[in-house]
């Protein structure tokens, strides 16, 4: 039996809300990459519009957190849940913004024939999407091990980023006609790499939530 069941309910609600944002963000990474691969501008536009929903939701949850701090004065673990929640929201919002960046770039690429199938970029996107999901899973379950494992994947993301960068440079040197497209694709790999960094921040926040310690994981 707890004597603060209303407060506990409010904390649970905030965590549920954050999970909703996370699933929207995952979807927007996925859709932005789908749009890129199939050169689907309608889907890309959907990703760009969908970002407003994410931003609104983030704003609402943030306000809930602020009200909770003002009215309930959470301390110790409760305080860490709320503060970590706010920080994770900020990371998720940034990740959403990068999906929008990918969707915008997709629109620029829409008229062009792709110089090659985007195998590595697609793999990178899958990795960062999993990182986001695992990060949020670690958050709701307070799972430090999972948070650390998730952050380990960021090395693979970084390796892919450098690999793609090198490959595209080769293309550009061989055939200056590919420069426009190669630069766009480089941007996309950069956006995905940044998403990996934000996901790593989520993992670090989870570790702080559980242990109270700040750990640098990338």
């Amino acid at each position: 039996m707890t004597v603060r069941s209303n407060f506990d309910k409010a904390l649970m609600e905030i965590q549920q809300d954050i999970l909703r944002v996370a699933s929207l963000v995952e979807e927007s990474i996925y859709n932005s990459m789908e749009a890129l691969n199939s050169q689907d501008v309608v889907l890309a536009a959907k990703v760009i519009e969908g970002d407003d929903v994410i931003d609104d939701l983030k704003e609402k949850i943030e306000n809930k957190c602020i009200t909770l701090i003002a009215t309930q004065q959470p301390i110790a673990k409760d305080l860490r849940v709320v503060i970590t929640g706010i920080k994770i929201l900020v990371s998720l919002e940034r990740i959403g913004d990068h999906s929008v960046d990918i969707a915008r770039t997709t629109m620029c690429l829409a008229e062009q024939k792709l110089i090659k199938p985007l195998v590595d970029l697609t793999h990178m996107a899958k990795l960062v999407q999993d990182m986001v999901r695992d990060g949020l899973d670690a958050y709701v379950h307070g799972d430090v091990e999972k948070a650390r494992e998730m952050c380990d994947n960021d090395d693979e993301v970084d390796d892919l980023y450098h690999k793609i960068f090198r490959e595209l440079t080769v293309y550009m040197k061989k055939d200056p006609e590919t420069i426009d497209q190669a630069v766009y694709l480089m941007f996309i790999s950069r956006f995905l790499e940044r998403i990996g960094d934000h996901a790593t921040n989520i993992g670090e926040n989870v570790i702080y939530l559980v242990t109270g310690e700040k750990e640098e994981l990338n």
Partner: protein, 252 residues
Amino acid sequence: MTNSKISVQNLNLYYKDFQALKNVSLDVLENRVTALIGPSGCGKSTFLRTLNRMNDLIEGVRVEGKVTLDGVDIYRPDVDVVSLRKRVGMVFQKPNPFPMSVYDNVAYGPRIHGIKNKQQLDQIVEKSLRGAALWDEVQDRLYKSALGLSGGQQQRLCIARLLAVEPEVLLMDEPTSALDPVSTLKIEELIRELKNKYTIIIVTHNMQQAARVSDTTAFFLNGDLVECGDTGAIFTMPEDKRTEDYITGRFG
């Protein structure tokens, strides 16, 4: 580096057969504010009273263990309890001014300790009232009854009365529980200033107050000292689950 002003070692206290403090060890640092928190009946007031031997006044109390003030055992038979209580003074939950003028309240202690010179007393009264952040509010009503002051002013008067005998340690047992928020903040402000000159131990049921005013927090439960540490750490990452449950209000 700060020194321990008071050092408590393996303290046990019994009210007849009932053990109210169980093997408590705690160092109180000089010029720091230490907050004692814990549920009702856990022994906070009892512990506070062991620090100036106020429990000696209660029938059937037995104390074991050691309490030192500046390294000297205060339970040694040759210790003069009156001068101990002058060095380690106490403020209570309800303000208890004497039914006399503001001036006489503050001059009471110094007079008992033999100061008769009017000029010297004037100085002590003003200095103490200033020290308790009350001078500006009462300087033109020094000779009126202290009972006419507001609750918050009365509590600061009690603090001034304490300061007048130049103590080293201030024990405060829920000093703001009878006060409104503004008076409470004034006392908290005052506590933070007083710690530059004094060592302060405060009992409070208000977690936010403990977090605001203290440097060190000690959590008591059923006569045990469960956890004692840096206030910032206790309120963000307590080590003991029982401390966490208590401060977050989940003591069921």
